[in-house]
């Protein structure tokens, strides 16, 4: 884990960034926000690529910036690895030359070269020039190059944004592998939640240059007052449950969640293991009485903990607690009124097995 203490103030015309936080980066800190929220600005300040009038940045024991004491450590001395939206490979060097450029300037212990190359699957690209690579290949090389510089902090600026949907699917496993294998504290900027629920453990939500929320992904996802996590396609919650058994015939995995059993489509993990399941808010329904004769297999006793109604929208968001874990539910306002739900009311949460999969 690394501690990143920041106290930043930057003005850019109409926009200003103002953040004071101590960020504990366990594995990946996701930074989420709409366009213009200041995500890239924050990342560039962390890298030292832009000037700043006033601020402090401390990473672990080193001070990268302290305007009061006149300290500014330039980017090449910060020991960071940065991957930009556009890969920014050196066009006059081969892929191997790009990796060497980073390795030759790395301070401290190098990551094993062959492991980096194999983790990103770029063995076959080494003699090629960047010109002939596809968008996804360029990003993989850029990530490998950043790793070869033996960074203490990895800064990823929407590494999937330049890639189309096909590349996203292609790149995701590589990112996952890099995070799991090399254990480098990472700040990951994205403007969609999908990548972050899969890769990040902590989430910082930026809005108009200010910190709108900071916490574990699980906590932030169920904050009903955050529009950044409330879109129709993305609103969701994450629950953790333990695997009890597998049904080979029906291809289902049984989980236990506070004494209640829950079934998951597909066969995942070994019995005894915890799995994280992302449940979309639109895939959960609420019943006042335990329903009978219904195809939904997961019927969990729950308690309503929060209700948020937006009068301008047809929908309402409800939070229910299932064995201490929060589940986000999206229903129509009409349903909410019909059920006459109130806080701390006991209900049943209904989850379609077909719609949930392990994250």
């Amino acid at each position: 884990m690394a501690v990143l203490r920041i106290d930043l103030e930057k003005n850019l015309g109409d926009f200003s960034l103002q953040i004071t936080q101590a960020l504990n980066i366990h594995t990946v800190l996701g930074v989420l926000g709409n366009n213009g929220a200041g995500k890239t600005t924050l990342l560039r300040l962390l890298a030292g690529l832009d000037p700043i009038e006033r601020g402090v940045i401390e990473f672990g024991n080193s001070t990268w910036l302290d305007s009061n004491r006149g300290i500014f450590v330039p980017p090449h001395k910060r020991r960071i690895g940065m991957v930009f939206q556009d890969a920014r490979l050196f066009p006059h060097l081969t892929v191997e030359g790009n990796l060497n450029f980073a390795a030759d300037r790395a301070a401290g212990q190098l990551l094993p070269r062959t492991e980096v190359i194999s983790a990103l699957g770029i063995e076959g690209l080494l003699p090629r020039t960047p010109e002939g690579l596809s968008g996804g290949e360029r990003q993989r090389v850029a990530l490998a190059r950043a790793l070869m510089s033996a960074p203490q902090l990895l800064l990823l600026d929407e590494p999937l944004s330049a890639a189309d949907m096909g590349y996203r699917v292609e790149l995701m496993p590589y990112l996952r592998r890099v995070i799991d294998r090399f254990h480098i504290p990472t700040v990951y900027v994205a403007h969609t939640l999908d990548e972050l629920t899969q890769l990040a453990d902590q989430l910082l939500v930026l809005r108009e240059g200010r910190c709108a929320a900071l916490g574990s992904v699980t906590e932030v996802l169920v904050q009903l007052d955050l529009p950044e996590v409330a879109s129709r396609e993305q609103a969701s919650s994450i629950i953790t449950a333990q695997v009890t058994s597998h049904d080979l015939d029906y291809q289902l995995t049984s989980l236990t969640l506070g004494g209640q059993s829950l079934s998951l489509s597909g066969l995942v993990a070994m019995p005894g293991a915890d799995v994280r399941v992302r449940v979309f808010a639109t895939d959960v329904a609420i019943a006042l009485l335990k329903p009978e004769g219904i195809s939904i297999r997961n019927v969990l006793p729950a308690v309503v903990t929060a209700i948020r109604v937006d009068g301008a929208s047809p929908f309402a968001d409800v939070l229910v607690a299932v064995d201490g874990q929060s589940l986000r539910v999206r229903m129509t306002r009409a349903s909410l009124d019909e059920l006459n739900l109130t806080e701390s009311q006991p209900v049943f949460a209904l989850l379609k097995t077909a719609s949930i999969a392990s994250d």
């Binding site: 090449h76 050196f90 450029f101």
Partner: protein, 227 residues
């Protein structure tokens, strides 16, 4: 028929020396011109570009005055070395450097401007210091600009006539370059050697340009549009 080989050699020395000096000199100047935000940068650019439009004799005239051992830079040089700048090879080199300056700065400045700042930022995050980035990223990415600058300066110095005549005169082995030798051959109705010298110069220039275009094509193939 007599060919003035000495003039050929002198010309090659002058053009070669001027090219080397200018590539070194133009590098920081072009970098500054490409990156400075100051409003008066236009004045400097105009001053450097003057030799492009000025009649060589005008430049030669002013340089003649500056180089005169009686006053100014010429006097300083004379007190330092005991030799005048006018009508000397050194004077010729200095004049050529000034006269060909825009042919060096402009292509190099253009090349510097087209190196993407994003690539340099990537270099910085990978641990490359500013000087390191300059030598390992900017210079190799600007090699077409340098090639163009070298060829233009060399060729321009080769063809220099007016300035040489004004400040160098026609001293064999010191200031008599090929263009002056050719002029003299014609003046003295020595058409045979004039023909030979002109033909050699023509063939040489053509071959140089041929090589440059071939190299340029290879560079553009390798560098392409960039990434």
């Amino acid at each position: 028929m007599n060919i003035d080989w000495q003039a050929f050699l002198l010309t090659a020395q002058l053009a070669g020396l001027t090219t080397v000096i200018l590539l070194v000199l133009a590098t920081p100047l072009a970098w500054w011109l490409a990156h400075s935000q100051r409003p008066w940068i236009g004045w400097v650019e105009a001053l450097i570009a003057l030799p492009l439009v000025l009649p060589p004799t005008v430049m030669g005239f002013y340089l003649l005055l500056l180089f005169a051992p009686e006053s100014g830079p010429g006097a300083w040089w004379f007190s330092l070395t005991g030799e005048p700048l006018n009508f000397s090879f050194t004077g010729l080199v200095i004049a050529s450097v000034i006269y060909s300056l825009p042919f060096a700065t402009q292509p190099i400045q253009g090349a510097f401007s087209s190196v993407s700042s994003g690539v340099l930022e990537a270099g910085a995050t990978l641990g490359a210091s500013p000087l390191d980035r300059f030598f390992r990223l900017v210079l190799p990415l600007s090699r077409r600009g340098y090639l163009t600058a070298a060829v233009l300066v060399f060729a321009h110095t080769l063809g220099e006539f007016g300035v040489v005549l004004m400040i160098g005169g026609n001293i064999p082995g010191e200031t008599r370059v090929i263009s002056v030798a050719l002029y003299e051959a014609v003046e003295t109705l020595n058409y045979g050697s004039a023909h030979t010298m002109a033909a050699i110069l023509l063939a040489f220039s053509f071959v140089v340009l041929l090589v440059v275009y071939a190299l340029n094509r290879r560079f553009s193939f390798r560098l392409g549009s960039g990434v």
